[in-house]
């Protein structure tokens, strides 16, 4: 039998030594990987293992002037199933079908689907979510989430606006004050396995969300609801397309109510409901979106109209300020005025006959205004138009304010000038109208209409109080004083008498504008009123779009404002005089 020899042992030693060297080299490689490269690979691995789940921050509330919550948050749940963790498919299907009131087949399909996580239902009420949680079913996940909630459904819908699925503002104040309201989302970092299933035993990194701040607005819930009711009432009575009512404090521009009926339900902003006469299913996506945009439009801000006779306030102010007319000046109205080759009619076919300027305003007599407008001249008229702020935007704190549609200065001929004096041939927004009149009657300070008052933190402490620009002396105090007196006389003795309330000094002006195209015979009846006439605290503008039957502003619009003032003035603490 062969014996192992010395060289064999040397060779074995050689092999062993070779192994040892290679093994040491590999250990060196390990040290390199596990000590020096560790951070690099750890980071990569962690990124691979971690799933970030966002925790939505609670959106700040919107509260009215008295702290009534107009936009709040509701805790809702999202119910999902994780297939791999489900123990009993039949039970899960049964429970979810029952609790979520869904089709059993539909639920079963999702429960049996092999996926990392399957959403069953979102926006589930917290109570239902809690009930499902109590079943303690493995594989069923109930995640809590915030959803915007509007306690008063339709109240001020076009002002407040609503938020989308990601809690981001879509229209209205929700968009304008997005940065204040939105808060900062938090996140949960969880470790998962390769299928995305969370590992229970691994620590979660949690970054807490920061709730958004509360926005306090000047809108008053009580006034807004009352005004909304009044608007709905008149819309129904007059079978009108829509009614817009704007109420503001003419002294500082703060908006007390802004109603555009029909309003829509903020909790169901995508439900066209009765607005869409066509069944929604038959609409194309584009038509549907158009219908929604139409439904969401804030008529006070997004739409322009010819102000009609209410604009005579502005013409009067300009002419008085310029001194081209005095209150005692007398005019003669034959029922029309001839400007160049045009015969422009007064609304009173037979004419008002001989009248003073004051009477001309009370009668809303077009020839009087054509006359004084021509005295002022196109260029000066344009200057005042600009001086009053009518060319620009009001800068109200709502998105999508429409601009003024106006002739260019060089294009204003006598006919254009004549029609402009009584509020035709150009268009402005209702908010622009209300703001300009506010500025004329408040002593001549152009105010910025606004809703936002202050931003409050969670403890109710003011984080930020908004300041708004004012421009002084757009008219003199004297002219302002004169206008207040004149407009009070319009209500006391003239075309605005339907707005008069025993014991209150109310100023105002009516208007009936025919919408374009004129051939359709559609009208906007409007009235702008303020009280008390000597020291205006509240100004209201009402627009009734396309009323059926009688369409005169003095007949149908003025009584609405009277009714509102009758209720709102005592509420605001404005006392009746003698």
């Amino acid at each position: 039998m062969a014996k192992s020899r010395t060289y064999n042992r040397k060779k074995i030693l050689f092999v062993f030594a070779g192994f040892l060297i290679l093994l040491l080299a590999l250990i060196g490689r390990l040290v390199f990987l596990m000590i020096f490269d560790a951070e690099y690979y750890q980071e990569k691995a962690e990124r691979l293992h971690e799933r970030e789940r966002e925790i939505k921050a609670a959106r700040g509330e919107i509260v009215d002037a008295n702290g009534v919550v107009l936009a709040a948050n509701k805790t809702v749940c999202t119910v999902s199933v994780i297939h791999s963790q489900i123990a009993d498919e039949t039970q899960v299907t049964q429970v979810l079908t029952k609790e979520l009131e869904l089709e059993e087949a539909w639920v079963r399909e999702r429960v049996e689907k092999i996926s990392s996580m399957e959403k069953i239902k979102t926006n589930v009420d917290k109570e239902v979510g809690d009930r499902i949680r109590e079943y303690n079913l493995p594989g069923v996940k109930v995640d809590e989430d915030y959803k915007r909630y509007y306690p008063y459904n339709e109240l001020a819908s076009k002002v407040l606006g609503f938020t989308g699925g990601d809690n981001q503002g879509i229209i209205g104040l929700e968009v304008k004050y997005e940065d204040d309201l939105k808060g900062i989302n938090g996140s949960i970092l969880t470790m998962t396995d390769a299928r995305g299933v969370e590992l229970d035993e691994k620590a979660e990194d949690r970054i807490e969300p920061e709730a958004g701040n509360t926005l306090q607005i000047s809108l008053d819930y009580n006034i807004q609801s009352y005004v909304q009711q009044a608007a709905e009432q008149v819309r129904e009575q007059k079978q009108a397309d829509s009614v817009s009512i704007l109420m503001m404090n003419p002294q500082d521009g703060s908006i007390l109510a802004m109603v555009n009926v029909p309003e829509f339900n903020l909790n169901e902003p995508f439900d066209l409901g009765a607005t869409g006469t066509d069944p929604a299913a038959q609409m194309t996506e584009e038509e549907r979106q158009d219908a929604l945009n139409q439904m969401w439009r804030n008529g006070c801000i997004n739409d322009t109209y010819e102000p009609g006779s209410t604009f005579k306030i502005i013409t009067s102010s300009a002419c008085l300020e310029e001194g081209v007319v005095k209150l005692e000046d007398t005019f003669s109205c034959p029922g029309y005025a001839i400007v160049e080759d045009r015969k422009i009619r007064c609304h009173k076919v037979g004419g008002h006959g001989s009248e003073t300027f004051v009477q001309g305003l009370q009668n809303s007599c077009n020839p009087v205004f054509i006359n004084i407008g021509l005295r002022l001249g196109a260029s000066r008229f344009y200057d005042y138009f600009k001086q009053f702020g009518l060319l620009g935007l009001t800068n109200v704190d709502l998105p999508g304010e429409a601009g003024t549609i106006m002739h260019r200065r060089e294009d204003i001929g006598l006919v254009e000038l004549a029609t402009m004096t009584f509020g035709q041939s150009f268009q402005i927004t209702p908010i622009q109208m209300a703001t300009t009149v506010s500025s004329i009657i408040n002593g001549g300070r152009r105010v910025t209409p606004h809703l936002g008052v202050r931003v409050l933190d969670a403890e109710g402490k003011a984080v930020r109080t908004f300041d708004y620009d004012e421009t002084d002396n757009i008219v003199s105090k004297e002219t302002s004083q004169t206008m207040r007196t004149l407009l009070e006389s319009v209500v006391a003795e003239g075309s605005g008498k339907n707005a008069a309330i025993e014991g209150y000094r109310i100023g105002g002006k009516t208007a009936t504008s025919e919408t374009l195209p004129r051939s359709q015979n559609k009208y906007i009846s409007s009235f702008i009123g303020f009280a008390p006439a000597d020291d205006p605290q509240v100004l209201a503008l009402i627009l009734i779009h396309n009323p059926q039957g009688v369409y005169y502003g003095g007949t149908i619009a003025a009584p609405v404002v009277r009714d509102i003032f009758d209720n709102v003035l005592p509420y605001l603490g404005v006392e009746k005089g003698d």
Binding site: M1, A2, K3, S4, Y7, N8, R9, K11, I12, L13, F14, V15, F16, F19, L20, L22, L23, L26, I27, R29, L30, V31, L33, M34, I35, D37, A38, E39, Y40, Y41, Q42, K44, A45, L48, H49, S84, M191, D193, A194, R195, L199, K202
Partner: protein
């Protein structure tokens, strides 16, 4: 034949290290396979049960083999080698496919990987063949030293090529191991050094041509250099993530995240990376140390056995273990391109652990007969 040798106990250190490795192997296997077992078979213990059973059978076999004088196997060396050839041929035709490779033969409920058996068969066969040649040389004399060497090298090398080709046709890694075992045995048996340098050069040249022939092999090289850029580098990369995540002390036994589906089949070839992740550098080095002790015992037994056949047997087993340990760690650390080589005693594989333990039985048997 056995005159002058007297029985004494097994090499106690070796025996202890083997048992330690088997137990530690099972613990690590359970840790890395529980998730996969749960996902695939709804049984966390699925892989542990199968491996545990195989380990039990293996230890039983090891003890029996260790009790038997290893010379008992000499007469079976040639027929055993023939059987390996037969089984390796059979697997090509009637083998079961798993993960795209035909490597298993089924006998009823038991499936069996012929290539694992082939390694043992080759070790016994070469030990027999070389010792036989050596005997002839000593008994018959004749010819100069160089003549013997040449014949010696050629016969031994040529005799294993058929099995290398057979196994290599569907399992390149095992073929490389078998070839490696043959080279080590011949190297140890031959007094020469220089020829082996030439052999290494020739081998390297052969490998280059071999790799260049098939573009997918070159692709492996590209993946090796830059695993992050290739989809197929996924496994390698996941292994590196696991290793890197381990740091100095690891995440703790059972706490690997990479085994949760990120590293595919964590219980197989890449199990070493899970060891790194869970036990850290310190734990990993301790396990490598166990392997080192194992190899050291082989070295010691091989050097102290006067009997040439016995010494060659142990050297073969030692070569086998060395190659698998080195290649496995090198692959997992992306030191060399990826090729499927399991980590002895720890990676999942029933056939592998049974035959590894039988090999250990042979070594223990040799150790008990050292003079």
């Amino acid at each position: 034949m056995t005159g002058g040798q007297k029985k004494h106990g097994w090499d106690a250190t070796l025996f202890t290290v083997i048992l330690l490795l088997v137990v530690i192997g099972l613990v690590i296997l359970y840790s890395s396979s529980a998730y996969n077992g749960q996902v695939k078979f709804q049984d966390r213990f699925y892989y542990l049960k199968k491996q545990g059973f195989a380990a039990f059978v293996g230890i039983l076999g090891m003890c029996i083999v260790a009790k038997i004088d290893y010379h008992f196997w000499r007469p079976f060396a040639i027929s055993g080698y023939g059987l390996a050839m037969l089984l390796s041929t059979a697997v090509l035709f009637v083998g079961d496919e798993y993960n795209g490779s035909k490597r298993w033969l089924s006998f009823g409920p038991v499936s069996f990987q012929p290539s694992e058996y082939a390694k043992v068969a080759v070790i016994v066969f070469l030990a027999y063949l070389i010792s036989k040649i050596a005997e002839k040389k000593f008994s018959g004399g004749g010819g100069g030293r160089s003549e013997i060497k040449l014949r010696f090298l050629l016969t031994a090398m040529v005799s294993v090529l058929p099995i290398v080709a057979l196994v290599g046709s569907n399992n390149l890694s095992t073929a490389i191991i078998i070839l490696g075992i043959a080279v080590i045995l011949i190297f140890v048996a031959s007094p020469a050094y220089r020829q082996f340098i030439w052999m290494c050069v020739a081998g390297a040249g052969f490998m280059t041509i071999f790799l260049a022939l098939e573009s997918y092999r070159l692709e492996r090289l590209a993946i090796w250099k830059n695993p992050e850029k290739y989809e197929k580098g996924y496994q390698t990369l996941q292994g590196l993530y696991a290793i890197g995540s381990g740091g100095l002390f690891g995440t703790g036994l059972g706490n690997s995240v990479q085994k949760l589906g990120f590293l595919p089949e964590a219980q197989n070839d890449m199990i070493f990376s899970i060891i790194c992740e869970e036990l850290g550098l310190v734990g990993t080095i301790l396990i490598v140390l166990l392997f080192l002790i194992l190899i050291w015992r082989f070295f010691s037994i091989a050097s102290h056995t006067r009997d040439y056949f016995g010494s060659l047997l142990v050297t073969g087993v030692m070569g086998h273990m060395m190659i698998q340990i080195l290649l496995n760690i090198a692959v997992v650390t992306n030191t060399i391109p990826n090729t499927g080589i399991t980590l002895p005693f720890i990676s999942y594989g029933g056939t592998s652990i049974v035959f590894l333990l039988l090999e250990m039985g042979l070594v223990l048997s040799v150790s008990s007969l050292i003079e």
